[in-house]
């Protein structure tokens, strides 16, 4: 197998290489090496049901202030986008991205017959099923199936986590969950596992047998662990990121985006946004972490000339009720907003009308945009994939990319 030049230099004695051609090596690591136009998606899942109304705030809406006497955020305290719309005060980097034209906000996203269980609603978002269907595969997993039939590493999609989400499970392929490429490499490199995998003679007559499936998964895991680790060291990001799980995770993602890895979709989560009690303190802490990590990440992308190639979007399994509850919190609701961040947006800013608080369904927002239309748009327009096939149906495309 041909080893790519960059990988070869990495694998060979770095000391010798850099002594012999220091400038040459440096030139190789410059940004021009990564082919521009290699489009990447980063999904940031806000687990627990983020309160969208205190995220993108209708600062001139009386109903908002009336229904949230102690929880509403006053106009002067916010990161202002327009006369009518502000962001939560912690989201200063999001405001800066908005001002630069690198941010879009999609309001009223949801799905028909919403479910208020975290688990169930998250499954619906991750599998992209209707709310009365139970699917065992996720939309990213099915994207992976389409990209990786018989490929060596199922690394077109990665989740930065210890445990793989339903979103990244396909029918024939599962993505890899990796929080720390070095740790995964270390664990999978245990001699016994290597030997067991190497010594196995596969039964070519029946690769449907469960034992063959297990060995296939094992071999893929070991080789992917190698591949991801090596790629993560090709061009590790030197930028400063906040010392949080999300900060570290986005730094890992940036390092991989700068490498030659074939990954197109990265998936990472932050939570818990389930703010039934004392919402303000909890949401503020999470938004500080999110804001600082996303700022470091987008700064890093800009420095390395990749801002136009990366689309980061956020979602949560549901929004929260419009009225606050008795514990200075909010309970489970329905429709919610999404942030879309990229230098390659075709439409930017606030994409559609803010929620109509005068037209509620038993105290809940009505959804106007099905999240599956967003997925279809990302799959088709950004990743150039067969959205209909992956989503199991046709969803009209939006025009943000």
């Amino acid at each position: 197998m041909l080893i790519k030049r960059k990988e070869f230099l990495q694998l060979g004695s770095l000391a010798t290489a850099s002594l012999m051609f220091p400038k040459f090596l440096k030139a190789f690591e410059s940004r021009a090496l990564v082919p521009p136009g290699n489009k990447v998606v980063v999904v940031l899942q806000m687990s627990g049901g983020n309160d969208g109304l205190n995220t993108v705030i209708p600062v001139r809406n009386d109903i908002y202030y009336r229904l949230r006497p102690s929880l509403a955020i006053r106009k002067g305290q916010t990161a202002e986008l327009t006369d009518d719309v502000s962001l939560h005060p912690e989201l200063t980097a999001f405001k800066a991205l908005y001002d630069e034209g690198n941010l879009a906000i999609l309001n009223n996203v949801g799905y028909p017959n919403p479910d208020r269980s975290h688990f169930r609603s998250m499954d619906i978002w991750q599998s992209a099923s209707q709310s009365n269907q139970y699917w065992n595969t996720g939309w990213v997993g099915r994207y992976l199936d389409a990209q990786c039939s018989g490929c060596a590493h199922p690394t077109q999609a990665l989740e930065v986590d210890d445990v793989l989400s339903l979103a990244l499970k396909g029918g024939t392929n599962n993505a890899i969950a990796v929080k720390d490429p070095k740790r995964l490499f270390g664990e999978s490199n245990e001699k016994f596992f290597r030997d067991v995998s190497k010594n196995h003679r596969s039964d070519t007559h029946d690769d449907e047998k469960p034992v063959e499936y297990l060995y296939k998964t094992m071999a893929e895991t070991l080789s992917s662990a190698d591949y991801i680790f090596k790629q993560s060291r090709l061009h590790p990001s030197g930028a400063a990121y906040p010392n949080t799980e999300l900060g570290k995770g986005l730094k890992t993602i940036a390092s991989l985006i700068f490498s030659d890895i074939n990954t197109k979709v990265y998936y990472i989560s932050l939570g818990s946004f389930d703010t039934h009690v004392g919402q303000d303190a909890q949401q503020t802490k999470l938004f500080t972490q999110m804001n600082d990590a996303v700022k470091a990440f987008t700064d890093d992308l800009k420095t390395n000339g990749r801002m136009n190639d990366v689309l980061l979007f956020t979602f949560s399994e549901f929004g929260r009720r419009v009225a606050q509850n008795a514990s200075n919190g909010t309970d489970h609701g329905t429709a919610n907003n999404m942030f879309l961040i990229s230098g390659g947006l075709k439409r930017k800013g606030i994409l559609n009308v803010m929620p109509d608080l005068a037209d509620l369904n038993e105290g809940d927002l009505k959804y106007k945009v099905d999240f599956k239309n967003v997925y279809a748009t990302v799959l088709k327009n950004w990743l150039n994939a067969d959205a209909d096939l992956i989503l199991g149906g046709h969803y009209d495309l939006l025009d943000f990319v």
Partner: protein
Amino acid sequence: MAEFFFGKNLNDGFKLMILNTVLCFKTYCMAIKNRLKNQHLLWRAGFGPAVEQLEELEKYSPEQYYKALVKASDKKPEYINVASDDLKNIYEISLDAGRKKNLTAEDRKELNRLQRDAIKNLNLYWFKEMVTSSAQLREKMAFFWHGHFASRNNNVYYNQLLLQVFREHGLGSLRRLLKEVSHSASMLFFLNNQQNKKGHPNENFAREVMELFTLGRGNYTENDIKEAARAFTGWSANPNGSFVFRKGQHDDGSKTVLGKTGRLDGNDVLNILLDNRQAARFITQKIYRFFVNDKPDTTIVNSLADKFYKSDYNISKLMEDIFTSDWFYIDKNIGSHIKSPIELLVGIQRMIPMQLDNDNVMMNLQRILGQQLLFPPNVAGWPGGKSWIDSSTLMTRMRIPQMFADKDELNLTPKQDDDQMMGRKNDGTANVPTVGKKKAASAGMIIKAKMDWPQYISKLESVKREDLIPKIKQTLFQANTDVDKSLPGTIDASSRESYIKSVTIQLMSTPEYQLS
């Protein structure tokens, strides 16, 4: 027989010797076959062979062994009650219209915490039953029904009541079982039937009872669901968990479900569903895939379903038909099943009994591997089979035996579950990731397991050292494998005891051990 083989010239003594050898050999063969088959039976009709059973596995035929399993599961199970007195007191106040206004916000928080704790204890209690109970068949059936009639509920009393239904009726009549489940607070609330009222139907329960519990998709119409939902109006439960029929909310008009017309009530609909042969086929196929082989054999499933239907849904009889058949014990079915996380974790502990210092380890392992008792992913239950395996779960599964043996660290964080935790951590504070070097509470958990090795090692007392690996392979694996050729270099041969331990742990850390 000896004459046939050796002619007439051999003297009688010699003939007898030969005969004995042939017979001996045959007995030995029988023993090997019995052991493999009985292990197969124990993995499928239970949670795997226990260390105490190792010697008897060769002595009995599978039919004898199955009889013994049935007998051990005969007794009515004792009700499991893990609710503490504290929980009971505060819960009773919360149900009392007069006193509940005295509860402060703190009290309510405490009530939630106690409920959560109790559900965790119920999970661990049942897990332990699976490990230690001799009523293996009963617990395995309960485990199956828990995944078939899947519900989640934050109230421990509702969980306890439904679990008792599975354990008490799991081997009885499906008619009774379906009725008990449909009358349970856990299921009625989970599927919103308390909101199903005359004139304002909620079809959730009616839909799932047809799609997932009895007939399967494509065997009813949307109109059948609408009509059935009307029949279930007024079905609800009291806060103490007992079924209540709210007559005022019931629609007692005429309905038509699957072609049957009348002023049907919920019980009529349940009977109509089971009167349909498709229900027998649907459930038999699910049982076959769970207990026999993920790939159903249509001919066998159909013939089993026929008998199941004719017996008016006698579950014991169906399980006997399966576990005493010849086809159950053929090669294709042995070692073909990917153990579910619970089967894996329970199975290890049945072979090497152990005590874990920290209860949360077992809960976190269940969650990380994707199967937490009492928390099925949705009403469809766990999909099973290959879906258990991805790169993360497979690597974790193969590291677990080592973690137990080495007092290792569980360096993995399960996904948050806000349906249980409502945005809080175990200590009640807001669940926000920690900043800096402090480790998250759930990560970095030290696994301290006191493993009871002497019992296991004593079972191998008479085995010669060079025969130890083959013997341990026979005990742990259901299929032929030469995975032991990777053992050299990873084995601690400093003493016979450490040799046995390290061979066992390493062989449990293989793809083959994931299968039963």
